[in-house]
C-alpha cells in the first residue's frame, strides 16, 4: 500500500505504534525511522513531520538523520528490491560485471526504480557474506556465486513472477 493513497489516520496509527515500541526517547530516532521505512518502503514526508511532533524533535534533526544514513530513502522504492554487493571480496570476484549487466537488463542505474514501479536496485558496500561473492540479494534473499547467466534467469523470474518465496538453494 502506498502512503499517498492511505488515509491520514493510517499514518497516525502506524507512527504511534512504531514510536510506542521504543518510547519517544531521542536515541530511538534511528530505529523509529528504520521501522517507518520498513512499513512504507521509504520515508514519506508526512510521516517524518508526524514523527517530529510525536518525538518532540526538530524536523531539521529528523531530516538530517534521514538524509545522512544511506539506508534511508525519501523516494518510494519498487515492489521488488535488488541489492548488488560491491564489497571488496565481491569486487575482486568481478561484481562490476554483475552491476554492468544488471543495469543493462533493467534499464536503470543504481538507486533508481523501473518505470513500472516494480523493481528498484542499488549497490551496497558489503552484505557480509563475503565467502559467497559475487553476491546479490533479491527481496532480502541471498544469491551467492553470481554470474551473468544466473543473473539473467533471476531477472527474468523477477519480471514475471514473485521470487520472494524461493530459497537460494536452486541458485546453485
Amino acid at each position: 500500500m502506498s502512503a499517498q493513497s492511505s488515509p491520514h489516520y493510517d499514518i497516525q496509527e502506524a507512527i504511534e505504534g512504531i514510536i510506542g515500541r521504543y518510547g519517544a526517547k531521542p536515541q530511538a530516532l534511528i530505529m523509529v525511522l528504520q521501522d517507518i521505512q520498513k512499513h512504507y518502503h521509504y520515508l514519506p514526508m508526512d510521516a517524518l513531520k508526524l514523527t517530529a511532533v510525536k518525538m518532540n524533535l526538530p524536523i531539521a534533526q529528523i531530516y538530517g538523520v534521514a538524509t545522512f544514513y544511506k539506508a534511508f530513502s525519501l523516494e518510494p522504492k519498487g515492489k521488488h528490491h535488488v541489492c548488488v554487493c560491491t564489497g571488496t571480496a565481491c569486487h575482486v570476484r568481478q561484481a562490476r560485471v554483475i552491476v554492468d549487466n544488471l543495469e543493462l537488463m533493467l534499464g536503470i542505474k543504481a538507486r533508481e526504480t523501473t518505470s513500472d514501479g516494480e523493481i528498484s536496485y542499488e549497490t551496497v558496500n558489503c552484505l557480509g557474506a563475503c565467502a559467497l561473492g559475487p553476491l546479490i540479494t533479491v527481496d532480502e534473499v541471498y544469491y551467492g556465486n553470481m554470474d551473468v547467466t544466473k543473473l539473467g534467469k533471476l531477472v527474468d523470474e523477477l519480471k514475471h513472477v514473485n521470487v520472494s518465496a524461493k530459497t537460494g538453494e536452486e541458485a546453485e
Binding site: 528504520q34 568481478q94 560485471v97 565467502a131 546453485e172
Partner: protein, 677 residues
C-alpha cells in the same frame, strides 16, 4: 524448563550440572550450520528435510537436530556435522538428506560423495577436525559456534558458559579484573589494536556517573564478517564479556550498536539478552553479587563512519554520525558526555576466556606484542573461503596455502589486502629485491635491513603495520593476476569518498581529488605528475584529518604505490592495464584456444560474439562494451584481455591458426597411439 533467576554461583553450578546430566551421553546430534553463508546456500531446506526424514523413519526421539552458528567453512556450505563422531558433510542438498539418515545415522556408514576431498591427495577426509582448513586453526573464541544453538542459553551453559562471569563477580575485585585483562595483553580487535586493559583502567578512573560500556557491532569493513558470525552464532560470549567489563569498570548500563543489515544477529542477540535476564545474568543483583547491569540493543543506521567511536556514540544518541576531535577521549567523555568504554564484538568475546583460563594462558598464545588469536575473513581468490581463527604470529603462507588451499583455477597469486578500506595491499609474489628497494625508498625499512618475503610475514598488529598495512577488523582479501592494483586503489578511495561524512575538509576534498586522479589514471589519461600529487595529498590527509576514516584513507594508495608502482607506470606511460581490468585500456578478444562451445554467446549483453558451434567465435570489437561477462564464464581461458586496440590482431591470428578441437575420445586414442609408439 524453569527459567527462574539463579541467585548464587552455587545455583549456577547446580543448574549447569542438571543440564549436562539431562543430556543423554553419546547421543547423536545432527548439527547444521545456519550462519549467513549456509543460509544463502539453502540450509533451511536441508534442516526441514532432516526433520521430515527423521519423522518419516521414526528415529526422531534418539537423534537431535541442532541448527548452529557459523562453522567458518562457508565455501563448502551447507555444512552438516554429525556428533559425536565429528562426521563432516559438505554442500549438502535436501535431496541428500535421506541418504545421510539411512546410511550414517541408521547404518553407521559414511556417505562418500558428501565428504570433503583433499584437493592434493584426492582422499576423502571424514572428520571435521582433520580437514586442513580447520587443522591449523586455533578456535578459542569461535570454536563453540559449531556445538551450540545460538538461541539456547542451556547449550551455552552446558559448554561452561557464564563460568567466567561467576569467577569474576564472586572471587575477583574490579581492580583485579582490570589487572588480569592488562596482564593478558589483549588488544582491541576492531582495528586500532589499543590495549584493552589500559582502556578499561582509564575509563574506570575517569570522573563522572553514570559510566557506559558499549559493544561496537557496526561491522562496516567490506570483506569482514566475523563480528556478524559471533553475534549470530555465540551472542552469549559477547554478553558475558560485557557484564564482566561493566563490573570491572563500574558501569550499570551497556549498549550494543549493531548493523541493521544483520537481522539475524539482532534477533539472536535479543533472544540471548532476554534469556540472560531471565536467569539473572542481567538485571539487579547478578548472581547474588549486588552488582546491577543491563544491556540495550541499538540498530545502526548504516554508515561506515559510525564504526569510529565518537561517530558511533553520536549515532547512539540518535544524531547524525559525525565524528568529533578526540583530544578529550571517549573513556572520559563519550556517550552523553559520560565516561564510555567501547570495545569491538570480538574483543568482548575474548574476555570470558581470559577470566576463566587466566591471563597467563591467554598471553602464552601469540607474539611478543600481540596476544591470543584473531578471527580473519579469508575471501577473494582463494580456494577455501570462510572464517578462520588463528594464533597471532601465524605466517601469511600458512594462512593462504595451508588453510586457504591456494588460488583457484591455476591462476597466479598476486596480493593480499588486509585492514579494510583503511588498510593496505601487500604484494606477495615478486622479486625480493624489488620489495626491498621499494620499502627503503618509502622509509619503511633501513637500507641494511632485510625485507622479509611477505609470505613469511608473521601476522600480528605490528608486523602488518610495518609492512604498510594494518590488522583492521580482520578482513583478508586475496587477489590473483586478474586484479589491477590501480583499480583496487580507485575502488577503496571511491568507497571512502562515498562514506566520508563531509565534516572536515581534508577528508572530503582530499578523497574527491584522489578519486579524480585515480579515475584519470585508470582511463589512461594520467601523467607522471599525478603520482607526486597523490603522495602529497596522502601526506596532508595523514596529518590533518579529524578522524581515522580520513586519517588512514590514503593507505590503499600508499601501499599500492609502495609495492605496485610498475602497474601505475604501465597505466600512465604505456596506456596499458596489465591485469586487463581498466575498461578504457582493454579490449576483449578470443584466441585460438576457443573450442566453439557457445557458452559465451548468451551472457553477452550486446550480442557482440558470433560463431557457429564447434567453430571459432569472434568478438565484434565495435559492439563490445568490455563488460567482462564472457571472460567470467569461459571455461577454457580463451577470452583474453589485451591492450586497447589489439583485439583485432589477436582474433586475426586466431583465425589463421585455429583448428577444431579434437574430440575427447579421439584425443585419448591419439594419446594411446603415441604412448604405444
Amino acid at each position: 524448563m524453569s527459567a527462574s533467576r539463579l541467585l548464587t554461583s552455587r545455583d549456577l553450578e547446580q543448574h549447569r550440572e542438571t543440564l549436562i546430566k539431562n543430556r543423554k551421553e553419546n547421543r547423536t546430534i545432527i548439527t547444521i550450520c545456519a550462519g549467513t553463508g549456509c543460509l544463502a546456500c539453502g540450509c533451511e531446506a536441508v534442516t526441514n528435510a532432516f526433520r521430515d526424514t527423521l519423522k518419516e523413519l521414526r528415529v526422531s526421539s534418539d537423534v537431535e537436530i541442532k541448527t548452529t552458528g557459523c562453522h567458518g567453512f562457508c565455501e563448502r556450505g551447507p555444512l552438516v556435522v554429525i556428533q559425536p563422531e565429528d562426521t563432516f558433510y559438505q554442500r549438502v542438498k535436501s535431496s541428500d538428506v535421506k541418504l545421510i539418515v539411512e546410511q550414517t545415522i541408521l547404518g553407521g556408514q559414511l556417505v562418500k560423495k558428501l565428504l570433503y576431498k583433499d584437493p592434493q591427495s584426492r582422499k576423502e577426509i571424514p572428520k571435521e577436525r582433520d580437514i586442513p582448513f580447520y587443522k591449523k586453526q586455533m578456535r578459542l573464541i569461535f570454536g563453540k559456534n559449531g556445538y551450540m544453538d545460538p538461541t539456547s542459553i542451556s547449550d551455552y551453559l552446558a559448554l561452561g558458559g557464564y563460568g567466567g562471569l561467576a569467577k569474576a563477580l564472586l572471587s575477583m575485585t574490579p581492580d583485579g579484573i582490570v589487572a588480569e585483562v592488562e596482564k593478558s595483553g589483549l588488544r582491541g580487535r576492531g582495528g586500532g589494536g589499543f590495549l584493552t586493559g589500559k582502556k578499561w583502567r582509564t575509563c574506570k578512573r575517569a570522573k563522572g556517573e553514570p559510566k557506559y560500556v558499549i559493544c561496537n557491532a557496526d561491522e562496516g569493513d567490506p570483506g569482514a564478517f566475523m563480528d556478524r558470525s559471533l553475534l549470530e552464532g555465540n551472542p552469549h560470549s559477547v554478553i558475558e564479556g560485557m557484564i564482566i567489563g561493566a563490573y570491572a569498570i563500574g558501569s550499570h548500563e551497556g549498549f550494543v550498536y549493531v548493523r541493521n543489515e544483520y537481522p539475524l544477529a539482532v534477533k539472536n542477540l535479543n533472544i540471548a539478552i532476554h534469556a540472560a535476564r531471565e536467569l539473572g545474568f542481567l538485571g539487579d543483583n547478578i548472581l547474588g553479587s549486588g552488582f546491577n547491569f543491563d544491556i540495550e540493543v541499538s540498530r545502526g543506521g548504516g554508515a561506515f563512519v559510525c564504526g569510529e567511536s565518537t561517530a558511533l556514540m553520536a549515532s547512539l544518541e540518535g544524531k547524525i554520525g559525525e565524528p568529533r576531535a578526540k583530544y578529550i577521549h571517549t573513556v572520559e567523555a563519550g556517550l552523553w558526555d559520560k565516561p564510555s568504554n567501547l570495545n569491538n564484538v570480538e574483543t568482548w568475546a575474548n574476555i570470558p576466556t581470559i577470566i576463566e583460563k587466566g591471563a597467563d594462558y591467554f598471553a602464552s598464545i601469540g607474539t611478543a606484542t600481540s596476544k591470543g588469536t584473531k578471527i580473519f575473513a579469508l575471501t577473494g581468490k582463494v580456494n577455501n573461503t570462510g572464517l578462520i581463527e588463528v594464533p597471532m604470529g601465524i605466517t601469511l603462507r600458512e594462512i593462504l596455502y595451508d588453510i586457504g588451499g591456494g588460488v583457484p583455477g591455476n591462476k597466479k597469486f598476486k596480493a593480499v589486502q588486509t585492514g579494510g578500506p583503511s588498510g593496505g595491499t601487500l604484494i606477495v609474489e615478486t622479486s625480493e629485491a624489488r620489495i626491498h628497494d621499494s620499502m627503503v625508498a618509502h622509509g619503511n625499512i633501513e637500507e641494511d635491513e632485510e625485507a622479509l618475503s611477505l609470505l613469511d610475514l608473521p601476522v600480528d598488529f605490528d608486523e602488518l603495520s610495518k609492512a604498510g598495512s594494518m590488522m583492521g577488523s580482520g578482513g583478508m582479501i586475496v587477489m590473483d593476476q586478474d586484479s589491477c592494483m590501480v583499480d583496487v586503489a580507485k575502488y577503496f578511495i571511491n568507497f571512502l569518498q562515498e562514506e566520508s561524512c563531509g565534516k572536515c575538509l581534508p577528508c572530503r576534498e582530499g578523497l574527491r581529488t584522489m578519486s579524480d586522479i585515480l579515475i584519470k589514471i585508470s582511463d589512461g589519461k594520467g601523467d607522471m605528475k599525478d603520482l607526486d600529487l597523490l603522495e602529497e595529498l596522502s601526506q596532508v590527509m595523514l596529518d590533518t584529518c579529524l578522524c581515522q576514516l580520513g586519517g588512514s584513507a590514503p593507505n590503499p594508495v600508499l601501499s599500492t604505490l609502495l609495492y605496485f608502482k610498475q602497474e601505475y607506470l604501465a597505466h600512465i606511460r604505456d596506456k596499458r592495464c596489465p591485469a586487463g581490468v581498466c575498461k578504457e585500456l582493454v579490449s576483449h578478444a578470443i584466441d585460438e584456444t576457443c573450442t566453439g562451445c557457445h557458452l559465451c554467446l548468451k551472457p553477452c549483453p550486446t550480442d557482440a560474439i558470433t560463431g557457429k558451434l564447434r567453430e571459432l567465435h569472434v568478438i565484434d570489437q565495435a559492439k563490445c562494451i568490455q563488460c567482462g561477462a564472457c571472460y567470467q564464464i569461459c571455461k577454457f581461458n580463451s577470452i583474453v584481455r589485451v591492450k586497447r586496440g589489439e583485439g583485432e590482431r589477436i582474433q586475426q591470428r586466431a583465425k589463421e591458426t585455429w583448428a577444431p578441437p579434437i574430440k575427447k575420445s579421439a584425443a585419448k586414442a591419439a594419446g594411446v597411439a603415441a604412448s604405444a609408439a
